[in-house]
């Protein structure tokens, strides 16, 4: 559905209800429209609306199409991919959990070890301070400036001695209290530790305010080019030999733990990768076990449906697949049996027809010849015998035609009719048919006019059959034409050619247009016998048209004449989509009615430009010859019989607006035919105006 038609359709959701013009509140920006289009496009499967969006979607999808196609078609690929994705997810989850636990365990152990190490260190520092205080207390006085000198040196030694016990398993940092840097007791650090970056500010403040030990995780940064690494820092207030407090920190880097953890991580990743790949392989193998028989079955079904009925599945074992195979084989066997029965039946029927044909025809030939000999000699007979001889010869003619038609019909029924299509110019066929019908037309006082024969009308068709169809139509038209003109119109457009035979005789009553093709049907049982004919002519013609993949359709109105239209595809294997000639002729009464009401232009809005591809169909002089029959075609002069656009294949005829008076039902040939055939009971005032339009053929 296009956007235009969707917009004009009432009640198609929010969009149809939207007021035209500026937004009432100005609340919704232009983007909301885009969003709606996007939403409707994405939610409703197809991208409708903005052509730009559609183009973009196509551009995005194009490179993905082969992949998507493979994805849709290959169940094995789908299952293996799903298995891979899901097992990958499981392995990842598992890996995270395991690594988390290992890390926690490692950290706990490290923290405990670090705490006991640090506690030992703090105790040692305290003892050293006390020792120093007792030794210093004897020979120095606290009043002079030296003690600080001593403390500075003492502290450097303290840091060195404390850190030497750890063998680079930890580093030691001392800091003055409260960040003061005076009195020469600056910060000291063992190794190349950058104390400022490594000891977090928050920890320092905590140590300042509290005498208990405190710890924190941190990143240990080095002044040398050694890479920084995560670690634990434990600090505490300790007094120096002078009794002044300072901060002592132990820094434990997690070097070892990091190593262990990355080892575990690597192991897990490798194992996970293996698991995923192996699971994929397993899934592939398992699916293969199931898919291989299914694929085999599919290929065998394909071959079977292509007509190789002896194909069977190989059945091994007793599992589900084997049961499927057995059931399938049983089905195939039954099918084969039925089909061969039907084939036998058809062959027998064909054979029967052929035999009957031969057995009947040989004696009939003898009778025929004998009758002709008698007929030729009738002048020598007495009047009664002479008349009998005439009747005999006449009725033999009728019998012969009837037999021939019956055999032809049964050949169609048996499916024995074969099409011998080759490119032929329908004008040749039409001219032959018309010249063959001239004698009859002269007797009836009818003129047969040809139109649309300026250009070749070539189609792949069986000349013999087409000629038979057209001869039938023309002879019928002349016989039922009440002595008025018969118009044979040819046209070609698109993939189709058409011949329409129009007469202005008694026409057809509503509903008769479908029945004319029934076997042995007669319009008026009381009077029809005089004109001869077997009553099978149109049935055979219809079968001939079907054999070509074409249509044979009838239209008529009571008292307004009728039109029979044969439409054939231009090439034999091409399906018909429409006909170059409208089924209802332009000079029908109803069309005149529309013209009178001033609706003529709306009926055919594209009439002028669509008619270009169709040969001109209004020879000059037509107006005068036809308008001579006043009551039937009163306004012929104003109507140029151009091609109805709705009859041209492949245009959007269905959305052309039509006047109310039942004209909307008339669509192009193909669809209208189905509709008309499906609704024979369509009643009411419309029925009287629609003149039993009908179609058969497809």
């Amino acid at each position: 559905m296009t956007r235009d038609s969707a917009a004009s359709a009432p009640g198609s959701g929010a969009r149809a209800g939207r007021p035209v013009g500026p937004e009432p509140s100005g609340r919704k920006p232009a983007g909301s429209r885009f969003g709606r289009v996007l939403e409707s496009g994405l939610l409703h499967g197809g991208v409708q609306g903005s052509p730009v969006l559609r183009l973009f979607m196509r551009w995005v999808r194009r490179p993905l199409l082969p992949v998507m196609r493979l994805w849709r078609r290959n169940i094995q690929l789908r299952i293996v991919a799903t298995t891979l994705l899901m097992s990958l997810g499981v392995v990842l989850l598992l890996g995270f959990v395991v690594i988390g636990q290992v890390r926690n365990g490692l950290l706990d152990a490290k923290v405990k070890a670090a705490q006991s190490q640090a506690t030992g260190g703090f105790t040692a520092a305290k003892q050293k301070a006390e020792e120093a205080a007792s030794t210093n207390g004897d020979d120095t006085t606290p009043a002079d400036g030296r003690p600080s000198q001593n403390v500075i040196q003492w502290m450097s030694e303290l840091v060195k001695s404390l850190s030497s016990g750890g063998q680079s398993a930890f580093d030691v940092v001392t800091l003055p209290m409260g960040g003061e840097s005076g009195s020469g007791r600056g910060p000291r650090a063992s190794g190349t530790v950058n104390w400022a970056a490594s000891v977090p500010e928050s920890l320092r403040e905590r140590i300042d305010g509290d005498t208990a030990a405190a710890q924190s995780y941190t990143r240990i940064v080095y002044n040398s080019d050694q890479a920084s690494q995560p670690g634990l820092v434990i600090g505490k207030q300790v007094n120096d030999p002078n009794g002044e407090p300072y901060q002592l920190y132990y820094l434990f880097p997690f070097t070892q733990e990091e190593k262990s953890l990355s080892l575990v991580r690597g192991t897990l990743a490798t194992a996970g990768l293996f698991v995923v790949v192996l699971l994929g392989a397993i899934a592939w193998l398992v699916v293969r076990q199931v898919v291989t028989p299914v694929r085999m079955a599919a290929s065998i079904v394909e071959r079977l449906s292509a007509g190789r009925l002896q194909e069977r599945m190989k059945v091994t074992g007793e599992d589900d697949i084997a049961r499927l195979g057995e059931a399938f084989n049983k089905m195939a066997q039954n099918l084969q049996l039925k089909i061969s029965q039907l084939e036998d039946l058809s062959r027998m029927q064909r054979r029967f027809v052929s035999d009957v044909s031969h057995e009947l025809r040989t004696p009939l030939t003898t009778v025929r010849m004998a009758a002709d000999v008698i007929h030729d000699a009738r002048v020598d007979f007495d009047p009664v015998t002479a008349r009998s001889a005439e009747l005999l010869a006449d009725q033999l003619d009728r019998f012969e035609t009837l037999l021939a038609d019956l055999l032809e019909i049964s050949r169609f029924d048996a499916g024995a009719a074969a099409l011998e299509a080759e490119p032929i110019d329908l004008r040749e066929v039409v001219r032959r048919v018309v010249s063959g019908a001239e004698p009859l037309a002269e007797r009836k006082g009818t003129r047969i006019r040809l139109s649309g024969d300026q250009q070749p009308v070539v189609a792949e068709a069986d000349a013999r059959r087409v000629e038979r169809v057209l001869r039938n139509l023309v002879v019928n038209a002349v016989e039922h034409g009440e002595g008025r003109d018969v118009v044979v119109k040819l046209a070609a457009a698109g993939g189709a050619v058409a011949v329409a035979v129009r007469d202005y005789g008694v026409g057809l009553k509503p509903g008769e247009a479908t029945r004319v093709f029934s076997r042995f049907w007669r319009a008026d049982p009381a009077r029809a016998r005089t004109t001869g004919g077997t009553g099978l002519g149109l049935s055979i013609a219809l079968e001939d048209a079907r054999l070509h993949g074409g249509w044979l359709q009838a239209w008529g109105e009571p008292g307004g004449g009728s039109q029979f239209r044969l439409t054939l595809p231009r090439t034999a294997d091409e399906p018909l989509r429409g006909s170059p000639i409208p089924l209802e002729p332009a000079d029908s009464r109803r069309n005149h009615g529309l013209q009178d009401a001033g609706l003529g232009d709306t009926v055919r809005p594209h009439g002028t430009d669509k008619a270009v591809g169709v040969p001109a169909q209004a020879p000059p002089g037509q107006a005068s010859t036809v308008s001579a029959r006043g009551p039937i075609t009163p306004r012929q002069a104003t109507v140029a019989p151009t091609a109805d656009p709705t009859a041209l294949p492949g245009n959007g005829a269905r959305v052309v607006p039509r006047p109310v008076s039942g004209a909307a039902r008339r669509q192009d040939g193909g669809t209208a035919s189905g509709a008309a055939a499906n609704r024979p009971e369509e009643a009411g005032p419309e029925e009287s105006s629609r003149q039993g339009e009908a179609s058969r053929g497809r």
Binding site: S354, S357, H358, R361, T362, P363, L364, T365, T366, V367, R368, M369, A370, D372, V373, E400, R411, A416, A418, E420, E422, P423, I424, D425, E428, R432, G436, V458, A463, R464
Partner: protein, 225 residues
């Protein structure tokens, strides 16, 4: 006018009726009812034309037709009850010149017989060339590089008709009228089959005809000499 006609038909009533009609038209009919005896009868009576029913006891009509054609170019008209394409084409391919579908009118049959007999009565000295073939119309011979090619009278007529007007494209209907003598086109399959048979004899490569060229959608014409 030569008028010996051999009727090969197993239906005695029909054969007798055919005899009555043919005698009435001035022909001399002779009869054989069995396919196996047909060839012997043919050699014995040396007819000017054979009327051959397709369905025969013993050898069927197709086989008889092939045997007669193998030793003579005498016109053969098939009588057939089957107008199905396959039957007709098989009959024509086996060498029949024409066919007539039962039931037929006596006049129609006589017209066909006369049309087939007529052609041999008007020899005019004429030399024609088509492709690399040389046709002697009066002497009834077709030669390529001095080598003569055997054609049946009908095939010869077909070739001559094409060769007389090498500039013209013949529709099948026109050929039917000129060669077979039909007023109203009956069945263009006749032309198709005989053109195929003619090609198989005169073309160097029947798949790529150079003597009798198909004009698609129209008909046939003579190839350039």
């Amino acid at each position: 006018m030569k008028g010996r006609v051999l009727v090969v038909d197993d239906d005695t009533a029909l054969a007798e009726m055919l005899g009555i009609v043919l005698r009435g038209e001035g022909f001399e009919p002779s009869f054989v009812a069995d396919g196996d005896k047909a060839l012997a009868a043919f050699r014995e009576t040396k007819p000017d034309l054979v009327l051959l029913d397709l369905m025969l006891p013993g050898r069927d009509g197709i086989e008889v037709c092939r045997l007669i054609r193998a030793e003579s170019g005498v016109p053969i008209v098939m009588l057939t009850a089957k107008s199905d394409t396959v039957d007709v084409v098989v009959g024509l391919e086996s060498g029949a010149d024409d066919y007539i579908v039962k039931p037929f009118k006596p006049k129609e049959l006589v017209a066909r017989i006369r049309a087939r007999l007529r052609r041999s009565e008007e020899p005019a000295p004429e030399q024609l060339a088509i492709g690399d073939l040389v046709i002697d119309v009066a002497g009834h011979s077709v030669k390529r590089d001095g080598q003569s090619i055997a054609l049946t009278p009908l095939e010869f007529d077909l070739l001559v008709a094409l060769a007389r007007k090498p500039w013209q494209v013949f529709t099948r209907e026109v050929l039917l009228e000129q060669v077979w003598g039909y007023r109203h086109a009956a069945d263009t399959r006749l032309v198709n089959v005989h053109v195929q048979r003619l090609r198989s004899k005169v073309e160097k490569d029947p798949e790529k005809p150079e003597i009798v060229v198909t004009v698609r959608g129209v008909g046939y014409k003579a190839g350039p000499s």
